[in-house]
Symmetry: C2
Subunit: 123 residues, 2 copies
DNA sequence: GAATTTATTCTACATTTGTAGAGTTAACTC
DNA sequence: GAGTTAACTCTACAAATGTAGAATAAATTC
């Protein structure tokens, strides 16, 4: 079971806050804000799909993610690599480095990250 | 308008071949193969969405992509960066480098790619 | 404590997606 | 040329998704 685009957006709001009340969720949306019932429905479905849970505080619910954003995107990206880049992470990385607008500075940063990652693996 | 997961899979088949006939499409799918009508429906929808076109050869159609795979994934990945990584490509790159299982060799390769990209920008 | 606000469930309905049968037509096969 | 195969259109239908009203219940406010 995976999330739809709209559910993913909501999920992102929940990830950002870590724990969030209905009222805050609605506030987060830009106008025109969705009806609370709409959000309630999404939250319900996401609970069924085991992506969010909630903690009762007195009588109100604080919703929280049941999956880490990094895990979610790992799966997501790895799925993409598998399905559309011949299962080659490198191919994807190459595509990414050449097709995304990274500034010189960002490229330098990225280089550092990669180097650090290499170091890490060497130990 | 964007493609659903299933349509994307079919799109990938079309990208791979560049130009492809119905029969070949079906052959590409693993068992249990979908009904030809299923594929026909998907193709029809993808034509409406302007993702594929076809060229008549005598009486049969050779389907081909109307969008380049690199363009499609650029949009895709950039959308992901925008929606879930604070619009920071670097943040995504960092996530990618640390969360995807790249071998030492692949990391070295990636480093080279990044370096090449840096060189390119310097000119 | 009556009136208002807020959150929740239940129900509903339109749209999109996944899948494919029925029917048609052209092509291919003896 | 009668029978088989292939591809296409049209129709259909179930499931998933996007959106929200009605009803209810609790909390907040005068």
């Amino acid at each position: 079971m995976s999330l739809s685009k709209t559910e993913e957006q909501l999920m992102e709001i929940i990830w950002k806050k870590g724990e969030i009340f209905m009222k805050e969720i609605i506030e987060t949306y830009p106008d025109p804000k969705p009806a609370t019932t709409t959000i309630a429905t999404l939250l319900k479905r996401m609970q069924v799909k085991k992506f969010v849970g909630y903690q009762l505080y007195g009588n109100s619910r604080a919703y929280f993610p049941l999956i880490k954003k990094s895990d979610y995107f790992s799966k997501h990206v790895n799925g993409m690599i598998k399905d559309y880049f011949d299962n080659s992470a490198l191919q994807f990385a190459s595509f990414f480095a050449t097709n995304t607008k990274l500034s010189q500075n960002e490229l330098e940063e990225l280089k550092k990250i990669v180097e650090a990652q290499i170091k890490k693996g060497e130990s």
